[in-house]
């Protein structure tokens, strides 16, 4: 097995900002990310969708770079940029020809230092976000299925259960005070990590990080939010109307183990046995063999996250679209049989070993790209950020695979028996609306 040896240097500035550097001078390009330890899970009550709306505001202007300057300066340097809001982190990132590295760091430092936005900016981005929600959720077949459907059924703590994209009333209620308060609370240097990857020397990168970020005043560390879930004791169910699509959908989610626990490593292999593409048991059985479903996908923290980028309760999810001639109960019964077989008979080594090979292969691809052809090393950046913010150990990126490679067949069977119980799961059915005469 190839032992990973990705260069990783990490340090912290006096203001608490952590810096992680991974040089690779093969190509003259660099990727920079700033990750803040705040995601949509812990946005304020009455302000659903705010963490994401706020992410948009970070592109609206900072102390020395007004509206559009972030976008203009990066694009005109030959680079691309974006941001995204996740359960427990929000990121901002740029990939650029490496001669623009300092410019990008200056931009990120400027908006970590001070956000400079007005009511007009907020109104504008509120409108933009509403169209984003419409184009991704409200005006699409299976929009938000199941990432917005499962949490309100599966969870009892508002932080885990609310509408992460935001109710429009809550988006409308958000004001500039909220924006500045959120910035002050969660965007302090000590609540963030800066990542510099690609065509740069470690010393040069450290120098640049110090020059641009060290003078940003430190702020108080936010108090950790309560995201605990009471233990689940019954199966939970919900039904959501599917307004456009023609097939019924079913999403099933099992409470997944905490990250980095022995059960988590085993659950990752279990997940792959079920959801590893066309050779996964769920797709093979339900789509290819029994032909009850026409599509089957899933994963731990699926579909808006992965095995590594959460830091609290999450689910192992299966998403099915099934033929209308089968009822939801029939479909679930066929699915249950797959689970029961795993619990009763376990997994043979000649199924588990190939899964490990494929898992490792996927991990490598993710390190190199993971986010389309224009953002080299996005996947590496994302892992480094999560391992830093959640575990304070970026070098896990080189060693984490070992834990998966050591999982045994009996550990997979045990975790299946423990996890895959009725009282540990939630089910959401997407029921196509009855169509009137067209």
């Amino acid at each position: 097995m190839t032992q990973l040896n990705i260069p990783v240097e990490s340090m912290a500035l006096p203001n608490g900002l952590r810096v992680v550097i991974s040089p690779d001078r093969t190509a003259p390009v660099a990727t920079v990310g700033v990750y803040y330890n705040i995601g949509f899970r812990i946005e304020p009550r009455g302000r659903s969708g705010f963490a994401h709306l706020f992410e948009h505001m970070m592109f609206q202007g900072s102390a020395n770079a007004g509206k559009m300057m972030h976008i203009k300066l990066v694009n005109s340097s030959g680079g691309v940029l974006n941001g995204s809001t996740h359960y427990d982190v929000t990121n901002y990132y740029e990939s650029v020809p490496s001669n623009a590295l300092e410019r990008v760091l200056w931009l990120e430092a400027d908006r970590m230092r001070a956000l400079k936005v007005d009511d007009e900016n907020l109104r504008n981005q509120r409108d933009v976000v509403k169209e984003e929600v419409r184009v991704n959720v409200l005006n699409q077949p299976y929009g938000g299925f199941p990432w917005l459907d499962l949490p309100p059924v599966a969870y009892r703590n508002w932080s885990n259960a609310h509408n992460f994209y935001g109710d429009f009333d809550d988006l409308d209620a958000a004001n500039l005070d909220d924006v500045q308060k959120f910035f002050k609370t969660y965007y302090a240097p000590s609540n963030a990590v800066l990542l510099i990857l690609g065509d740069v020397d470690t010393d040069e990168a450290i120098g640049l990080a110090e020059r641009h970020f060290a003078s940003i005043p430190s702020g108080p560390q936010p108090t950790p939010a309560d995201i605990d879930e009471p233990p689940q004791i019954d199966e939970r169910r919900g039904v959501v109307e599917e307004k456009f699509g023609t097939l019924p959908g079913i999403a099933i989610g099992y409470q997944a183990p905490r990250r980095l626990t022995p059960e988590w490593y085993a659950a990752a292999m279990l997940d792959h046995a079920f959801h590893g593409g066309r050779s996964g048991r769920v797709y093979r059985r339900l789509v290819l063999e029994q032909q009850i479903a026409v599509d089957a996908e899933g994963g731990i923290h699926y579909p808006v996250g992965d095995l590594f980028d959460y830091n609290g309760p999450t689910l192992m999810v299966t998403r099915l679209l099934h033929k209308p001639e089968y009822s939801a109960d029939q479909t679930i019964a066929a699915y249950d049989q797959i689970l029961d077989e795993m619990k009763e008979k376990g997994i043979a080594a000649d199924e588990l070993e190939p899964i490990k090979v494929k898992f490792r292969s996927n991990y490598f691809s993710n390190l190199e790209g993971g986010h389309g052809p224009s953002i080299p090393r996005y996947g590496l950046m994302h892992l480094l950020a999560c391992f830093t913010l959640f575990d304070n150990e970026p070098s896990l990126v080189n060693t984490i695979l070992d834990g998966f490679m050591q999982v045994t067949p009996s550990e997979v069977q045990s975790v299946a028996q423990k996890l895959l119980t009725r009282h540990n799961r939630s089910i959401v059915i997407r029921q196509p609306a009855k169509k009137g005469a067209a």
Partner: protein, 458 residues
């Protein structure tokens, strides 16, 4: 610029450092004795490789039989060979740590694959088997056909699909490019013999291109390719027909009624050019300034100033025989007319006023920079190589791309906008709930109205 004094205040934008040269990895470009064209490039970032086996024939070449036949052929080709069942194929892929997909567009069919270099020999063996010895099992065909029908029903509820379908029909009419997907009825009439026939005619080395990028030594990989594909035979295949295109007389409006829509999908377009046209880079640059980048005029206007939409974009789409230019945005129902007005305002501005030097500089830097970013991953490199080789562009097309972009002028942009942002003949497709948007649509011309099944209702 490199030695510009540094300011101690954080208010000054740091200048760009001198750019490091983009160095092209050496590439091997060979044609095997059986006619298979091979392009190989080393990329050692991860112990993997990625590959694409193209056939220069897609749905267009058999459009007279039915739309989508090439895509169905590619889909079923992975479900069984003389030596392996569907299940064995999938399990072998997993054992090799490999991904594989197959499909076809209008011009090409492709088997795409990626895997660990330790298994390159075996994976090439499997790909070669799929390309030469697929058996098209009847039961696999029937299952894929049902899945396709269900997928088509869902696509008919998807605004983006409905907009593309109508725009392509309007721009290309009865030409194969005018149809982006089959009807349910056409799929029901597919026969497995048609798939086998397509496979016989077009899956042959003389019609194929193999692009591979990864952590390998090219000469050694070439030997593996020779072993896997050397005995395969079959010369070139005939090209696709190119029937006459409809005449676009004037600006027209097409409304696709999707009941219950809470947003309206706009798609505006006109015919343009292929990548072989001498104007291609001019059009690319003009598009980048108009609506092809985050920092473009269209995004600034209807997103960042007016908040009409989340995702406005324009693009130049080259195909083998023709090309088209299109502008897309999903907008709030009550600003359909206002958004169209701004879209045309920005088009007319591109056509009437030369772009200033700063904006031109920014756009040239953007294109050359993004091009360099695209070379930094195995997938990105493979994509660039495929683009250049599939359409038989000049050998130095990629190497000279950046310098050719940097030479473009404001006059080039104006010229391209005037030729290819054809405001007068723009075809306007609007997908949404008719009652909410028809009056706004009518401000741009009397709409032809269609239902989501594609039938004209007015």
């Amino acid at each position: 610029m490199a030695s510009a004094p540094r300011s101690d205040t954080p208010s000054a934008v740091p200048p760009l450092a001198p750019a490091r040269p983009v160095i092209w990895p050496p590439r091997v470009h060979r044609t095997l004795s059986n006619g298979l064209e091979v392009v190989l490039v080393e990329s050692h970032g991860i112990p993997k490789f990625t590959g694409e086996l193209f056939f220069r024939s897609g749905n267009a070449v058999v459009a007279a039989q039915a739309p989508g036949l090439a895509d169905m052929t590619a889909t079923v080709a992975r479900t069984g060979t003389q030596r392996r069942t569907s299940r064995q194929i999938e399990e072998d892929l997993r054992r090799m740590g490999a991904d594989l997909s197959s499909g076809a567009g209008a011009d090409n069919s492709v088997i795409s694959f990626a895997g660990l270099v330790d298994f390159s020999n075996e994976l090439l063996g499997l790909v070669s088997e799929l390309a030469q010895r697929a058996i098209f099992p009847e039961d696999e065909f029937e299952r894929e056909r049902r899945q396709l029908v269900e997928g088509l029903r869902i696509e008919r509820t998807t605004p983006g699909f409905l907009a593309s379908e109508r725009l392509r029909r309007v721009l290309f009419g009865a030409h194969p490019y005018g149809t982006i997907s089959p009807t349910e009825e056409q799929v029901t009439h597919y026969r497995v013999e048609q798939l086998k026939d397509f496979y016989q005619r077009y899956y042959r080395p003389g019609n194929a291109l193999l692009v591979m990028v990864g952590d390998f030594a090219p000469e050694k990989m070439l030997a593996e390719i020779e072993t896997a594909f050397g005995a395969w035979t079959g010369g070139p295949a005939e090209g696709a027909p190119d029937p006459a295109l409809p005449e676009l007389q004037s600006r027209r409006v097409y409304l696709v009624h999707l009941p219950g829509s809470v947003q309206t999908q706009l798609s505006i377009g006109n015919r343009a050019i292929t990548r072989k046209d001498p104007d291609w880079l001019r059009l690319t640059l003009a598009n980048s300034i108009y609506g092809g980048a985050f920092n473009s005029r269209l995004v600034m206007n209807i997103r960042e100033e007016k908040g009409y939409t989340y995702s406005p974009r324009s693009g130049a789409h080259p195909m083998r025989q023709h090309g088209y230019f299109s502008i897309g945005a999903a907008v709030r129902n009550d600003v359909v007319a206002a958004a169209l007005k701004e879209i045309f305002y920005e088009i007319d501005r591109m056509r009437s006023t030369p772009v200033g030097e700063d904006e031109l500089d920014d756009a040239r830097s953007y294109l050359t920079g993004v091009f360099s970013l695209g070379l930094a991953t195995q997938d990105g490199l493979a994509g660039q190589l495929a683009t250049a080789t599939l359409e038989k562009l000049p050998d130095d097309y990629l190497e000279t791309y950046r310098e050719r972009v940097l030479k473009l002028t404001s006059a080039d942009v104006l010229d391209a906008a005037r030729k290819y942002f054809d405001s007068e003949h723009a075809q306007i497709v609007i997908v949404g709930d008719r009652a909410q948007i028809e009056a706004q649509a009518a401000q741009f011309g009397a709409p032809e109205v269609y239902d989501a099944q594609g039938s004209r209702i007015q």
